[in-house]
Symmetry: C4
Subunit: 275 residues, 4 copies
Amino acid sequence: MKKMSQQRLRQQLNEIIFGTETPAGRGFDIALIYAILISVFIVIIDSVEHISSEYKGLLFFCEWLFTILFSIEYAVRLYCSQHPFRYARSFYGIVDLLSILPSYIAFFLPQAQFFIIIRLFRVLRIFRVLKLFRYLGEANMLMRSILLARRKIFVFLMSVVVLVSIFGSLMYVIEGPEHGFTSIPTSIYWAIVTITTVGYGDITPQTVLGQSLASIIMVTGYAIIAVPTGIITAELAVEIGRDKGEHSCRNCKKTGHDSDAVHCKYCGAKMEIPV
Amino acid sequence: MKKMSQQRLRQQLNEIIFGTETPAGRGFDIALIYAILISVFIVIIDSVEHISSEYKGLLFFCEWLFTILFSIEYAVRLYCSQHPFRYARSFYGIVDLLSILPSYIAFFLPQAQFFIIIRLFRVLRIFRVLKLFRYLGEANMLMRSILLARRKIFVFLMSVVVLVSIFGSLMYVIEGPEHGFTSIPTSIYWAIVTITTVGYGDITPQTVLGQSLASIIMVTGYAIIAVPTGIITAELAVEIGRDKGEHSCRNCKKTGHDSDAVHCKYCGAKMEIPV
Amino acid sequence: MKKMSQQRLRQQLNEIIFGTETPAGRGFDIALIYAILISVFIVIIDSVEHISSEYKGLLFFCEWLFTILFSIEYAVRLYCSQHPFRYARSFYGIVDLLSILPSYIAFFLPQAQFFIIIRLFRVLRIFRVLKLFRYLGEANMLMRSILLARRKIFVFLMSVVVLVSIFGSLMYVIEGPEHGFTSIPTSIYWAIVTITTVGYGDITPQTVLGQSLASIIMVTGYAIIAVPTGIITAELAVEIGRDKGEHSCRNCKKTGHDSDAVHCKYCGAKMEIPV
Amino acid sequence: MKKMSQQRLRQQLNEIIFGTETPAGRGFDIALIYAILISVFIVIIDSVEHISSEYKGLLFFCEWLFTILFSIEYAVRLYCSQHPFRYARSFYGIVDLLSILPSYIAFFLPQAQFFIIIRLFRVLRIFRVLKLFRYLGEANMLMRSILLARRKIFVFLMSVVVLVSIFGSLMYVIEGPEHGFTSIPTSIYWAIVTITTVGYGDITPQTVLGQSLASIIMVTGYAIIAVPTGIITAELAVEIGRDKGEHSCRNCKKTGHDSDAVHCKYCGAKMEIPV
């Protein structure tokens, strides 16, 4: 009898934590979103020196409050999941673990010695923001078009790497260390900054030849950089077209109707209203 | 009898001020556009010190001239509107109020004390420029495609926020306060400047690891930033395609049919084939 | 008889200068393109001080050689044109005049007095580069799509002007003259530099509030700036589709065939091969 | 008999080196990709001074190891190719030669005298990265859309050149050498940096007139620069649409038909309707 009730508890918890249909499930989700946002906000302002020194106690308290809350959430998720192992190894399972682990590790590390590692672990808590992705359902469509175009994007990135290596190396020869192009890696960094049109201006060509080559990189680079936009637009257009395409006529089975169509545009039969 | 004539006056004023069909209505609109442009121009040049000190009297006079003119306009709009309350709470009603209020508030504030607040109220008059939107009819189409894509744009913005938080935090750990990345908020600001390809160059990575991560942000960020362009292009293409179809149904007169439609999608009547 | 031969001369000159079908006409065009490129190149290098002082005589000689050549060209065009007045007032007539006028004016101006005006007239000769547009036939298609979208582009530009005025003014209030935002015009200039993602970095926000607003300008600005790309892409797609559409089937008259189609895709009849 | 076996050897080598079907061929390709990546990595880190002085011996050894390996590869390719001359003059033949030549030339040059030339030849080895293009099959599709749009891109580039010449010259007149616009070539360089939205900030307008013109360049330039994106998107959309159509003709087996095709556009046979 006890096992039975435990199973019912598990199922109920599952509905609340993983589900979004019940009022309790929706309430839990909204509370979790707020908790994530506030905890991320605390990590961010904790790095501002004059705030972190003034509100040290409050920030420390909040930090552990959220760590304990997220730990409980993680434990309950593990407990009520039907396949605890599968959850633990899934993307969200790892993210959930990542959002509590750094606090515990930072706690057990010898404080004074490795300051940079402390800082690293304090900052790693920012990965809690990834928990938000659970609630960005539409992101799937964007992801899907990026995935569909992944081979083209890979080829494009490789082409950029090749271009940037060659342009960077040439600039290193032309401008040389005396104008800030101290090595090929630095020059490649400059070429990336230029070809993506970021243009910090920390390193700039000074010679006429260097400025001419830089101009060629910018203008031709602009034409090349238009390619990812083109790829994603074309894929998205197909995706949006597909959304339209799901809505088919009961009579002639043809698709491609607008979402506001009342009659089939091919045979004139009345369309079913999509739910 | 007086009430009757008052109602006629109201209706005539309404036609002049809100309408664009009569010659008087069109004349009023053109005069108003000029008044807005000149008054905004005055606010702008008023902030240039050597101009504001030289032409102090003239600028002061113009300022109150336009404030009084716009006050009269606001009063008349309230008077002749059929639903004064609805107008007052509408977007344009609030804009109209906003374009006169700052002058009055600045007048009643103790001059010498809060200089920054004076400056704020002097500058707030710039919101008069929003009155221009009444005359940008085509903006509706752009707005419509942005609204249609609003969920996708929100998801995109959220993804950018997540990305920028993580990249900014990592850069804070890698570069640290000694290279200008003084806190996570500053590093996130840097990440936004970089991912949008603005690239001021006031904060730049100095270490090899930092420059490598910055390069990854730029190149992958470029691919991600192509998404809003893609979304808006795809939505706009649908919008433009719909406008092109002046192809209307003989039966129900509705437009917006695809060029290959054989039956009207609203009433099911057979479509005339366009020549 | 003399008039007759003069008319024939005029017609022959017209064929050579305005036409592109005869070998002489094509030869003239190619010679003219080279003359334009060399003369523009001379204007450009003439501004480099150490070159202009070393090759003073040569540059002066070349300058007058091209001025006389282009003057003869202008005179002959006027002479052999069927409607000399119409030519003189056309876009290319004005460009042809503009490319010789500055040299003459600079010659008659009192040398020593107005150095800046001399410099202006020396530089105005750069407008000769506009003569090249005569040979950019494909530019028409691009121009056509920009013209088709001109109302949308105007609305877009106006929206940018409104946005930039408001953002610039707010930044002027927030940052103030002490951080480089010396006046509203300067702040608007900064807002344009930011919203177009140019990002010189000569003026940058220093306060937390200023950096937050700047981040909002960048990210939302990016979404808004995607609009012109979307407009032009959508218009170009229609234009390219139209080019495809010109190729119609002799049998069923339907259009929309690819340029490599051998048979009509609707009725199967053999397609005429386009010249 | 010996000739026979030699021919078999050649054919086997050809299958391994040029082919990708056999396991040996695939193994060779993967080994070559790693060799290219490592050798390029060595060229790049060789330019970092503190690394090149510390690991001088190791880098020298690796350099010659890869030079000899690539030399053997080049010799074998020449030997086993059916048309050695055609291979030698092909794009990849030249790239293969370019990736070994600089090392030999640098070896025979008098070391101390022309340091800059040594540096040039050391860096030219970076062109080995071009060998990677052999393995970027998908790059062909991108190349095809760029080639299809090459006339439009040329016209676009010419228009940019004309615009940039005029804007640069005007800025030279307005700002003059005292604000960094030292000559027209420098001003044109600035105009390119601005119109491509790179915006280094090494040269910036200081006068009100200069900042106004710069704003015009940025905003209108932004509209113009949207054109290449539009061109490539429109061309890519057609390309992707064609790939999607795996819809092949039963009669001639050719693909690339539109989804609404009733007859094969190549042979005129009736198409099967896709399910």
